[in-house]
Structure formats: C-alpha cells, structure tokens
Amino acid sequence: MKKIKLGVLFSRLRLEEKLLFEEARKRKDVELVPIDSRELILSLDEHPKLDVILDREISQSRALYALQLFEGSDVWTVNSFEAVRIGGDKMLTSKVLHDAGVPTPNVKIAFTKESALGAIEEIGYPVVLKPVDGSWGRLMAKIENRTAAEAILEHKAHLSSYYHTVFYIQEYVKKPDRDIRAYVIDGETIGAAYRVSDHWLTNAALGGRTIPCPVTPELNELCLRACKAVGGQAIAVDLMETPHGLTVHEVNCAMEFKASMQSIEKNIPALLIDYCVKAAQGHQPKPKATLKTGDKTKAMAHA
C-alpha cells in the first residue's frame, strides 16, 4: 500500500498537534512528516515531496506565506491559502459571509479614529471594536458610550501595528451567557459545543467552559454555508444565538479543539487525518471562497 505523505505545518506543539501526530502515527496508510516552521527555508518554486499538508501553524503570517508557496506545487493544503487568508481576517470573513447570505453581525470599517467614531455612532452603542487580525478575544473592546469610544480609539491609534488603525466595528449582539463553537470537516458539521462564561467574551482562551450543544438543522445548515463561503475544508465556526436565530461571527481555519473535546463525541484529530488522506487521494473538489472583490483582485487572490 502506498502511504500518503502527510505534512503537518506547526511551530507550537499544543495538545491538538500532539493528538494529531499520535493519530497519524496509528495509521498504516499515512507517513507523518512534521514541518516545524521555525526550521523552514522556502524557495519561490517550492515543491515539497508530500501529498497533503495540514496547516496547524499558530502564526497567521507564517501560515499564509508557507501555504502560498506550498500551493505553487501539486501538494494539497488543508486549509487552502485563500481560506486561511479569509478566516484570519475579520473583515474578509464578514464580507464573504455577508455576500453568501449567511447571517452575520453588522460591521463597519474605518481607517482613522475620527471616521471610526462616526462609524460607531452610526451603528449605535454598545459596539464591539476588534482587531481585524486578532484571535482568542485579544484586544477586543465593548464600547458603551462616546467617552469610552474616544479613549479606546485614541489608544488604538498609538499601538505599534498599523493593523490597529483598521478599525473593525461590529454591532454588539445581545446573546445568552454563551456562544457556539461548531466543527465542520469534509462537508459535515461533526459536533458543536456551547462556550459558557459570565463575561461577554466566551473564548475558551479566556476561561469560557464548554458543554455539549446539539447540531440542529439550522446550526448545520449555517455552518456548512459559512464553510463554503470561506472555501474551507476543515474549520470551526463560531455562532451566537439571537432572538432572530443564529448568527455567524467568526470562522477559524487552524481550529483549536482542546476545550471542546469533552463536549463532542466524535474524534476530531481522527476525522482531520481521515479528511487529509481523502483529500490527498484526490476525492475532493478544490473549494473556492465566494469573496466578491472585482475581477482584478480576485485574479490576484487566486493566482
């Protein structure tokens, strides 16, 4: 039997990566090739001698550059450069979800603190100000009034990264003391967990605890549509419950699942490896994101 050569791109071996490595090593049809990004030297005509690469890189910028170069060869990547680019940027995620008709919170983008204040007041207090490229609830602010808005915008304008002057302003969604983290692998919503917290941020990284969440037809349909919108193959979808139904607020490509494992029956590492094998064997159509950005930009994105 020809073994599938599975590369796993990583730089931080968390429990998730440890479990993925263990799962891959159990498989007789898989040869695991750990790829530590800290040791990589990539060329512009990179041709890794691998069948498939699973991206578990914790650094968004490293993942993007590596995936872009890997995709210049025949190797299959999970997820694709394009999906990771969209999933790692909150504005792009909101845009593709909106364009695909997936319910998602109202968002405005501004580039100066003055226009950001105007955008905040157009939406109306409270709002949530987020970094476009952040994760784990980092540097997120719930803004309740103009005084707080002025102070936070002033501080943001002086942070080091220029990304902090891309102001991503989202309506504040009144929800229960929980949100939902659902996992989509190979076109199926394989499980979901509520993330419960007394704090308005429910991220597991901030201490939110998880309990099982049923995969209802509504949840399943929204997750699959969100996955399709970003061109994802194996992703986590974050949703909030509103009086009008579920709304998708985030998509995560190199998803963490440690906190959800006790609430989900299925074996996420095993399913990820199964999917990588299937993708490498050529049974998967290449997914495409649905970002509507005009022909020129689209051509560049898919180049």
Binding site: F10, R12, L13, R14, P34, D36, G134, R138
Partner: protein, 66 residues
C-alpha cells in the same frame, strides 16, 4: 522537517530555566511539546529528549491565533 517523532516513556525531571524549580515531565512527552512550570507558571518547550532539555517557550505574538 522536524524530529518530533520520539517519545520518552519514563518519568523525567528537568530544571525550570526561569525559576530553577524541578519540573516533572509526564510519561509520553514528545519533542516540541509545551509544558507549564507548576511553580512559576512559565511555559516551557521540550527542545530535546536525548539529552532531555527544556527552554522557555516562544512568547505569544500578535498574529497568533486559530
């Protein structure tokens, strides 16, 4: 490519490079695994199994995430 293939099957101890406390590595620890020092709370990375060696794990960067 990386050599995080091998496992340590017996319990071993190393010194935390931050606070000097003894850190016990669990059975089955693998190269590159991230551990917490239970005394000072710093994150450590297992950089070598033979000889057993830990270093301070890289600190969180702004582009880290899912």
């Amino acid at each position: 490519m990386n050599a995080s293939e091998r496992k340590v099957d017996i319990v071993k101890k190393v010194e935390c490079p931050e606070c000097g406390s003894e850190v016990t590595l669990s059975d089955g620890v693998v190269e590159n695994e991230i551990l917490d020092c239970t005394t000072c709370g710093v994150e450590l990375e297992v950089v070598s199994l033979k000889p057993l060696k830990v270093e301070l794990a890289p600190e969180e960067e702004e582009d880290w995430g899912e």
